[in-house]
């Protein structure tokens, strides 16, 4: 029977949750790296026991950890993320130039074909890659040196590159998203990039339809249709059917179109999930009700999924990297909250139950479906 492994990054350590295919009973290990912020951990799709973790601290900076046994043991990998060449400036919150500076790794995206190759999205926004299993990291500097980069500006959480999507059907195509610069696409394995934000509208920036400056919170794709992208923007849920060339809004009947994560059902490319949040200054669910919204039509028409989720006095947030799906049938959906709960649904969102209730604030959730 298949198994599921859920990798949870929190403000104070990492946790590994495992279950068999019923997803009814869970073993919990952790905290790994207790006391450190674990922004993200993720396993290689071709070697699921090869895991990478981003461990950071305001005191001690960035550490990268690697496991070869599914998270039972870990070893430190290289943690030197040095920008390639002169760094110049981006815009600060007040619109003045601000020097580029490395802060932390937000997201680790292992290659679809090589367990030793991993992409790292960092703050201040840049993309790095290792091809030796974390032995060393090199910047793919074509992104940071894009002509628009001096105009990029941080979101409230920092100027982070938080989303990396690798196209499984077209070698060399990849997407990244940066808060608050927008979405970018490369068709040459990260050597060169261009913004793909046409159709995004962001009130509050000088030109609401500018090429860059949009606070994209998350992008998701289904492996079978990598040209179709779904986006949770600061406000607005968006969809592109042409690999980011153009976007249209599919917020539809959501109670709020602000939010952070978005994900796609493992077997239904038109079924997507978001967690509406009241507003950008009130990072909690509308009406104190924690509701996942599911669209089976690729957006626009949404249904609230509430069974098993708190429907009163709930004021947690769900961060951008804190939702994931498994590959079982029915598809499992998982998300973690800033209140320390990790909720799981073994029936594609129809019903939910907490796996754990009292972890530190959850930053990221990744799910592995194991043989």
């Amino acid at each position: 029977m298949s198994r599921v492994r859920v990798l949870v990054g929190t403000r104070k350590g990492a946790f590994v949750l495992t279950s068999d295919g019923t997803r009814a009973r869970w073993d919990v290990t952790g905290p790994h790296f207790g006391g450190w912020e674990i922004y993200h951990l993720k396993g290689s799709p071709v070697d699921p026991d090869r895991l990478y973790a981003s461990q950071s601290s305001g005191w001690f900076g960035q550490v990268i950890q690697r496991s070869n046994d599914g998270g039972k043991t870990w070893e430190s990998a290289d943690n030197k993320f040095a920008y390639d060449g002169p760094t110049g400036t981006h815009l600060w919150y007040d619109g003045t130039p601000h020097p580029w500076g490395f802060a932390r790794v937000w997201h680790l995206e292992p290659s679809l074909s090589d367990p030793d190759t991993v992409y790292a999205g960092v703050e201040d926004a840049a993309l790095f890659r290792t091809t030796d299993g974390g032995g060393s990291w090199q910047e793919l500097s074509g992104l940071r040196t894009h002509t628009s980069a001096p105009l990029w500006q941080p979101g409230a959480g920092g100027m982070c590159l938080h989303t990396i999507l690798l196209d499984p059907s077209r070698a060399g195509r990849m997407f990244v998203a940066i808060s608050a610069a927008g979405a970018f696409r490369s068709d040459d394995a990260g050597a060169t990039w261009r913004p793909v934000n046409r159709g995004l509208q962001s009130e509050g920036i000088p030109d609401p339809s500018a090429e860059v400056g949009h606070c994209v919170h998350r992008i998701a794709m289904h492996r079978s249709r990598p040209g179709v992208l779904f986006m949770q923007k600061h406000w607005d849920v968006m969809r592109s059917d042409d690999a980011g060339e153009t976007w249209r809004e599919v917020s539809g009947n959501l109670p709020s179109d602000f939010g952070f994560p978005i994900d796609v059902h493992a077997h239904e490319p038109e079924t997507i999930y978001v967690v509406p949040i009241k507003s950008d200054s009130e990072h909690y669910p509308p009406d104190g009700k924690l509701r996942v919204y599911r669209s089976r039509t690729g957006g626009q028409e949404w249904e609230a999924l509430t069974r098993g989720l708190p429907q009163s006095h709930c004021y947690v947030n769900v961060l951008r990297d804190a939702m994931s799906v498994d590959g079982l049938d029915p598809c499992g959906v998982y998300f973690g909250t800033t209140g320390g709960q990790v909720y799981a649904s073994a029936d594609a969102g129809d019903s939910w139950a907490p796996i754990v209730r009292d972890l530190p604030a959850v930053v990221s959730v990744e799910v592995q479906t194991l043989p």
Binding site: W36, W59, F60, V63, S76, N79, F81, A82
Partner: protein, 98 residues
Amino acid sequence: MIRVVLPAHLRTLARVDGEVKLEVPGPVTQRSVLDALEAAYPMLRGTIRDHVTLQRRPFLRFFACEQDLSHELPDAPLPEAVATGAEPLLIVGAMAGG
């Protein structure tokens, strides 16, 4: 032998208990001690001083012999008691919550 006391989280990262003891060739300075420390424990690179600038990370301080040495030049000699191993170099994280 030079004695170095690490903050708890760096002891865990380096997988050491208690003080670290190091052979430091040549003059005993902040730079030479940190070079020897990072050579013996490569996982500590970047956690005490920045990889690129080699500047002390802002939330860390260096103490020895009841003196704050954080703002001494990296190549200034450390106190004789540190050089002889009578006293440890203390690497201390800011006493801040979070």
